[in-house]
Symmetry: C2
Subunit: 348 residues, 2 copies
């Protein structure tokens, strides 16, 4: 089966062994798969020995950089066949999404972020049967594949535990920031001030519900929010959606006293910050990763029912042959937002 | 008036100008003043330019390293005289404690951590009249001076917002860690596992209410707590009471998934950590500094009513001539816990 394999910092499109479903598992054909910023990070951090130490057991620890990984954890798929000990809940051909986690007999792993479970950068995947959710009729393959990135935003906003409509600052308007903006908007929060160096991402932020967008080189998003709130500020909530070294410290410096910072961007490198600044401001830093099954399912249905324009996130679609080029484009901040792979599409 | 002045990394006992109370201010004679770990840090960070940037306005920003600072923010005192525009609520001779903050006409400052308001390392201080609380009859001067460090623990435990009796891990059993342990115990929390490299500090931790003490070189406090809880763990709460670079990262590595880390130790240097570890565990880091007026007052009364054995914290008392030597002793982790200065005591 054809797949894009990440090995020693490079992506190659090649023939790979067919994945075979084990007990409780399902073989599916990938329909669409988004390229996540985590994949871009992981490509170059796979061979950093410190990564294994940083992540610890349970997530990514089963990525051996010498074996090769098929990325892809934002996917839609159709059921092909079942392994042993399955309930065969969906007939072959059913279109599904799934949280990219498998609790298998060998301890399981993350689909698309482990050696054991190749992800949606390949034509076939093995998923866990209990994780499958049928895609409601009429929802397109690519929009359905956006369930995963939008569930990240839903979870991050859930982690903030906002009890009443709240103002928010969103730092970074890549797919993570946009999904946070969409989730804030869907829950009635605002005003939302979003910051990104890229003009095209700022306009995307407005499309997803930001009330004000700022270029951090020209204005401070926290000051902009303070002006918007004009003397009636609630507790400040900041979503850090960039995940690069130094960004958290810039938020710590700029955030008002008592602010809650929800860190959603995944920074894979060590980072430096000034604890004393955070201490004197009594900041709170809450890290958010992934989502619950409920959040995942709710997000799929919000997309299917039109409450969330998932398709608007997608700026380009490619076949497997186009993945390496797509990675190069995604490294330019202004060029693309979300690129979706259609593994069955032979034309790049 | 005699005072110990911190200037360019050195402490010197010298004659200084008499402080004069401004509008709303009170002149007091220092009875006792504790030496705080922050003073030890500040002595060597006063001349680091980065400090001003790190702390920002409002706290410590008014410390000019070229002028000299009289430290001391954990004190008891007696009223001597009043400035203009005061209500003269307490007659001269009344023994008082006070939060070490003054909101003065020049913007105010921190008593003992600013140039404008010399602290308890001197014979006389100027305080804000509204901040004064009379020491209840019968409570000794040195125990009363411990209101401030124990209020820090009360506030840190308040910041954790524990809704029901909770287990806790306390990292570091210096005065900050001990005050946290005492506050946890007073509020019925437990089991409390406390960690310190020093055997004498571990035994102090037991005295203040730790249910189990561990030497981090021999055991992991989080693993020790898990054994104590034997399968019925609640949400893990960790108090970081050391405040040195690297400690937060060691807590991030060792803490269980979903843990709340309350950072109470003041680390004045930049620190490094691995955000991805905190992210994959969905940790929450809440910084705690100082206390509210209510917490301060409640702490004084808990000490006065015998609910808190503040005197047990004090391992040595010195005069002003003994302060430099006391600093040297406090840098050895095993020698002392809290040293209290009696400025009127001419014999070191």
């Amino acid at each position: 089966v054809r797949a894009v394999v990440a090995l020693r910092g490079e992506l190659r499109c090649e023939e790979t062994p067919d994945p075979r479903p084990g007990a409780g598992e399902v073989l599916v054909r990938t329909l669409c798969c988004g390229i996540c910023g985590t994949d871009l990070h992981a490509l170059h951090h796979l061979h950093m020995k410190s990564l294994g130490r940083a992540v610890g057991p349970g997530f990514g620890a089963s990525m051996d950089p010498e074996i090769g990984v098929v990325f892809g954890h934002e996917f839609s798929a159709e059921v092909v066949d079942y392994g042993p000990d399955t309930q065969r809940r969906f007939r072959p051909g059913t279109r599904v999404v799934s949280m990219p986690f498998v609790a298998g007999p060998g301890g399981g792993g993350a689909v698309g972020l482990s050696n054991a479970y190749p992800g949606g950068y390949g034509e076939l995947m093995v998923l866990a049967e209990p994780m499958l959710i049928a895609i409601p009729n009429g929802l397109g393959d690519s929009a359905a594949a956006m369930t995963e990135p939008f569930a990240v935003g839903a979870h991050a906003v859930g982690r903030a535990a906002l009890e009443e409509p709240s103002a928010a600052v969103v730092i970074g308007c890549g797919p993570v920031g946009l999904s946070v903006i969409a989730a804030l908007k869907a829950r009635g929060h605002g005003p939302i001030v979003a910051a990104d160096f890229s003009a095209s991402r700022r306009s995307m932020a407005e499309r997803f519900g930001a009330d004000l967008v700022v270029d951090p080189q020209a204005d401070c998003p926290h000051a902009a929010l303070a002006r918007l709130q004009a003397g009636s500020p609630g507790r400040a909530v900041v979503f850090e959606c960039v995940g690069l070294p130094g960004v958290l410290q810039s938020v710590i410096e700029a955030a008002p006293r008592g602010a809650l910072i929800v860190v959603v961007g995944a920074c894979l490198e060590p980072d430096q910050f000034h604890p004393f600044t955070a201490l004197t401001k009594e900041l709170e830093i809450r890290f958010a990763v992934a989502y619950s099954a409920q959040e995942f399912s709710d997000t799929l249905h919000a997309i299917a029912e039109g409450g969330l324009d998932a398709q608007a996130l997608i700026t380009r679609q490619v076949g497997l042959d186009g993945v390496a080029d797509a990675f190069a484009e995604l490294r330019k901040p202004d060029a693309q937002v979300k690129i979706v792979i259609r593994p069955s599409d032979r034309a790049a």
